[in-house]
């Protein structure tokens, strides 16, 4: 009965109700879209950065992150990758040997990271294979081939077909030395990679660096970062069984994690302010309507309604307004978000950077139950809690006094 009454009351002043609904709906839609867009951009950032080289997660020897070196290694990478591939969401596990060596070509020498990779698997974990500028990426048939970044190649005056000498320390302390032929030169667009990483076939690297049958790390890839994140507990159990550490993306890219966390926190503050402002505007409107209707409430009380029932009536009006406004806003916000999720948002100036990651030159929002519902839920909660004020005011009224009010 009260609900029906509240609903009818709402539509007695259509203009005011529509205006209130509009403001709630607009803010809700804005919240849904902005949050989806923000999380979509973060997801793009994370995926593209991790896809570059790290992988979505990594197995490493315990203590390797603090003190990497060939003396820390994974004893049985074959079994470890097999076990990891058995986990849903993980589609590729690429073992690597990471060594440090002096690269020499024609009297020029530079220090660099030499990474032994399984070409077929590596190409599915890391996008370096997709950023080859000249020549080609490694193939499983390769033996003495190498690919290196364009900055490193330029420093060493190397072109495709040239030979590069690798001299470093092997895992057993002996001298690691090899001569490789440049098969391809990549340009990832990230100077740290382009200047420092040479990739060579895994088996040859294991041989040269006395790491036969062993690996430094195993990089994991999956259908998406979310899928691998969801598989982390299962992967961690596998890691424990093999005595190796599992590093998730926050451990692999701590700086990026910090940036995202900070940005997320500041924008949350902004969203909260938005919610609070709208809630106050709606409350103000309702309070005015309550003051206007004091005499009407007096009559309701006089004909036998309890004060708390009248209070509840007002609160229900507010709630109905909130639910309806949020629903409209949610539908609208989700609609435009989905539209942009399909069509993308062009972002001038970003095309080139995104293209280097093998991504289309547009940013995409990402609608999820979380981004769709958290905004409306917060707004509704704020309105529902704020509604206690008019409730208390109405619940204090007495029939005689209210009817005599101006």
């Amino acid at each position: 009965m009260l609900a029906a009454l509240a609903w009818r009351n709402l539509w007695r002043r259509q203009q005011r109700t529509w205006l209130s609904l509009l403001s709630i709906a607009l803010v809700t839609a804005l919240l849904v879209f902005m949050l989806s867009f923000q999380l979509g951009v973060y997801a793009t950032m994370k995926q593209s950065t991790l896809r570059l080289f790290d992988g979505y997660a990594q197995f490493q020897p315990v203590g390797y992150a603090e003190d990497p070196g060939l003396d820390r290694s994974i004893a049985d990478p074959g079994r470890l990758t097999e076990d990891a591939l058995g986990i849903a969401g993980v589609t590729v596990a690429a073992p690597r040997v990471n060594a440090f060596a002096i690269l020499t070509s024609g009297g020029r020498s530079y220090g660099a990271a030499v990474v032994g990779v399984d070409p077929a698997r590596e190409a599915r974990v890391s996008s370096i294979a997709a950023t080859i500028r000249s020549g080609r990426y490694l193939t499983p048939e390769d033996d003495d081939a190498a690919v290196l970044g364009d900055v490193l190649a330029r420093d060493l005056r190397l072109a495709v077909g040239g030979t590069v000498t690798v001299l470093g320390a092997a895992g057993d302390g002996s001298v690691a030395a090899d001569v490789l032929r440049v098969a391809g030169i990549y340009h990832s667009g990230v100077p740290e990679l382009d200047r420092t990483i040479l990739e060579m076939p895994l088996a040859r690297a294991q041989d040269a660096f006395a790491m036969t049958g062993r690996a430094s790390t195993v990089a994991l890839g999956g259908t998406s970062l979310g899928a691998v994140d969801a598989a982390l507990p299962a992967l961690d159990a596998i890691g424990k069984r093999h005595g190796v550490a599992l590093l998730d993306w926050t451990a692999l890219e701590p700086a990026m994690h910090d940036v995202i966390t900070l940005k997320y926190a500041t924008s949350m503050l902004f969203y909260l302010t938005l919610v609070a402002v709208v809630a106050f505007i709606i409350l103000n409107t309702l309070l005015m309507s309550v003051l206007e209707r004091t005499r009407e409430f007096g009559i309701l009380l006089a004909i036998g309604m309890k004060p708390h029932q009248v209070g509840l009536l007002v609160w229900l009006e507010l709630l109905a307004l909130g639910v309806l406004g949020c629903a409209i806003g949610l539908a609208f916000g989700a609609g435009i978000t989905l539209w942009f999720e399909v069509h993308g948002i062009p972002y001038p100036g970003l095309d080139e950077i995104l293209a280097q990651f093998g991504l289309p030159p547009r940013l995409y929002p990402m609608l999820s139950p979380f981004t769709a519902l958290i905004g409306p839920a917060a707004l509704l909660l704020a309105i529902a809690i704020g509604g206690v004020a008019p409730y208390l005011r109405v619940a204090r009224l007495t029939a005689a006094a209210a009817m005599r009010a101006a």
Partner: protein
Amino acid sequence: MRSGLAVAVIALSAGAPDADTILQRVYDNYRSASSQASVSMTVHRPEWERHLDMKTWTRGEEDALVRFVAPPKDAGNATLKLGRDTWVFNPKLNQVIKLPASMLGQSWMGSDFSYDDLSKSESIITQYTHRLLATEQIGANTVWTVEAIPKPGAPVVWGKVTLKIRDDDVVTEETFFDQDQNPARRLQTDRIGTLGGRTYPVVMTMQPLDAPGQWTRIETGEARFDLPVPEYLFTLSNLQNPRQ
């Protein structure tokens, strides 16, 4: 008046030599026009230990040639240092490689020594200011502790070096501190003997202080000093194709 003060200072320093003098005497003891030695090196890691034998030649203060002779896996590898330049030869590559200056702080042959450690340069004398920290009596010897702080702008990697020096001009312990003044590594003299007619640190151990269970020990088997060394020894062609 002024000369009187000078006399007083000299008289004082005769009793307890100042830090500069102590270091200079150590340096003079090491100094030789040339040297030739057989050295064995033990590289110890928690997982493994390796023994390497090498022959070394030095000329003046900055030139050095080291050639590994055993084990077979390492034999033939050689390092040549001429002044500030360093080259390595690897028999498998059959190639001489000049090391970029940025690599000279890297591990030498997988040991806890760096390429920079290969020549005992006089930078500890010229690039640092010295202060006598302590004097103690150990057995029949006096041992001084000297602190060396880099001069402002000195091109050195360490933030501080402390040395324990025995009164027969041998360094018994040398601790290297990083730029944050934390001890980073320690070179300890395990045995002092007489080699080629000099008091000499025969066995020395280098230990990085941030890696427990890891050290490199070098033992000088025989050494001869100030013998004439043929000029061709310190050439790139001899590095690649040894004449002897």
